[in-house]
């Protein structure tokens, strides 16, 4: 790595030039253990991931559904800590330059010391941080340190987010806007609501930042639809985490299945760029 990791703007430019959307898989650091989850990330990168979302496990993940919570439990049981989380990022940086976003709950940051957390994030090669339980109202300290350490502060918006909040959030956010596809918590779903596609149109009117859609994106068809509606990328979480859960006793099969699904999901982003 000569010039440091790829930035979010560079990544979105890269995929756009190829008329693609960004495929961003999610994994909980240390699920089911540190070594295996590092191999999982390697498969994701080799299969064409354009960026990564890494969750640090938390004991009380209120924004997540049962699939991700179970992954958090597995990771914590295997001995994950905040220090090991950063170590995990450092290892990922040994084999890839693509942008890495952290998905964390605020208490982990608060206990580390907000400045200290952002400093370690920067040192280990993190590009962006999304705090699941930190709305703009409470985000001033986090934003201050994100600017100080050159980390993109990423925010979620949802169908329930009003237009005035959308404008406000677009002004505070960096990197990309995370659009929550469904009402509710994370989890694989079979239908993609019509409302989601309308929401993408609505967000587009309020921001020049790239848009990525997450929560409930589990099929190649979902990816095609959200990219077609104007999203710049898709974040896929629960359906991948389910594979880790299903094959936790057989790592070889787990990695094979992850690879197969990621290849298919990445393929769905091709020719669908905005």
């Amino acid at each position: 790595m000569n010039n440091g990791p790829e930035t979010y703007p560079e990544m979105f430019k890269r995929v756009k030039e190829k008329s693609e959307g960004a495929f961003i898989p999610f994994v909980v650091a240390g699920d089911p253990d540190l070594e295996t989850s590092l191999l999982v990330v390697k498969e994701m990168v080799n299969a064409g991931a354009d960026a990564l979302e890494i969750g640090f496990p938390f004991s009380d993940p209120v924004a997540d559904g049962p699939t991700i919570q179970a992954a958090d439990v597995r990771a914590l049981k295997s001995g994950m800590t905040t220090s090991k989380g950063f170590e995990f990022i450092r290892h990922i940086r040994e084999f890839t330059d693509i942008p890495i976003g952290l998905l964390v709950y605020y208490n982990l940051i608060y206990q580390r010391g907000i400045g200290q957390f952002y400093k370690e994030a920067q040192k280990n090669g993190v590009n962006g941080i999304l705090i699941a339980d930190l709305p703009p109202e409470e985000a001033s300290s986090a934003i201050e340190f994100s600017k100080k350490f050159g980390i993109s502060q990423i925010f979620m918006v949802a169908q329930t987010t009003s237009n005035s909040r959308l404008s406000h959030i677009s002004q505070m956010a960096e990197g990309f806007i995370y659009v929550v596809a469904v009402k509710g918590v994370t989890g694989a779903r079979s239908d993609l609501e019509r409302d989601t596609l309308d929401l993408i149109h609505r967000v587009r009117k309020h921001t020049d930042l790239p848009i990525c859609v997450g929560f409930g994106i589990s099929k190649t068809d979902h990816i095609k639809k959200v990219l077609k509606a104007g999203s710049n990328g898709a974040i896929v979480a629960s359906v991948l985490v389910e594979l880790i859960e299903k094959y936790q006793e057989d790592r070889r099969v787990m990695l094979m299945e992850i690879r197969r699904l990621c290849l298919a999901l990445k393929k769905a982003t091709r020719g669908c760029g905005p």
């Binding site: 009380d60 209120v62 608060y110 329930t160 009402k183």
Partner: protein, 392 residues
Amino acid sequence: MISDGKFGKYGGIFVPELLIPAIEELESAFYQYKDDKNFNKELDYYLREFAGRPTSLYHTQRLSEKLGCKIYLKREDLLHTGAHKINNTLGQGLLAKFMGKERLIAETGAGQHGIATAVIGALFGFPTDVYMGSEDIKRQRLNVFRMELSGARVISVESGSKTLKDSINEALRDWITNVDNTHYLIGSSMGPHPYPTMVKHFQSVIGRESRKQILEKDDKLPDAVIACVGGGSNAIGIFSAFQDDREVELIGAEGGGEGPSGRNGATLSFGTEGVLHGSLSFVLQDDDGQISEAHSVSAGLDYPGVGPEHSLMMVEGRAKYEPVMDNEALRGFKLLSKYEGIIPALESSHAVACAEKYAKKPENKGKTIIINLSGRGDKDMHIVSQKMGAGV
């Protein structure tokens, strides 16, 4: 938002973006109706006719004599459903009705708040879902049955530690998914803004009555007010009327469980600052911020967080918080039962035990104490009989 919901630096709105509109709507409705004449007329009616307010401030004779202090009990144990919880569920239930919500959800640990919510669901005709940890369901079959009799559906929570904090997580997730038609009726003065302020408002009736009653009886304020603190709603309710009277000592009795080195629920005594369930307050956690499992002999104090205003009152020195161990609480339980014929809830027994310790200090001899007797002990018979080896 009308307010940032901060008590000093504590409190706030630490929730996913998806919940913000629901919280804005709730906050706006709360500030609109809390001083609304029709709302309050209806609330007063139900508090009086349905719940049984006002409750008496009872001057104990034999207990006062034994402990050498003048001890009053605020008899919240005499309310319908047997505890102060109904003050809050009536208030929030009525607010949900005024807001045009169609469904109630609640979390419950031992089942007391679940019952108080189920009853309000029956009263106002709301479909009601109560989230309860599967471990708690096993321990509290009778309370599950009571809730179901009132028409509520009890949903078993299998995630995490399968106890109260996980029930709150599940209820929050339900609310995130069904914000349009559902009111989440939080049972204590915790959670994101506006809950701590709103629950205090609906529980402050305890303090208003107590202050008026003690002035009528004694023509002066008490020296100390003592209440148990889990999430902290009965305590903040009674403290609220005395907060500005600096000469009145306010003391919160926490669930000390097995003590500082063992499992406990004494968040203010043994915890550190952190963000849990929507607000910054004190929590029981490890160095990384992973939340610990709480323990107390009383299920109502078995929570690893605490309402944010209590954190502020502690750091400002306005109130003191003391851990009361399981065995001390059991002694308080027996003391009040034996000397006054009043069987307190195990939660309230912590306040009784705390009052006993207070009274035993030589400098406190002859002082006047109000204990908030937040609930009655019928629900705890099987636990206490087990601990006493009576095997009922």
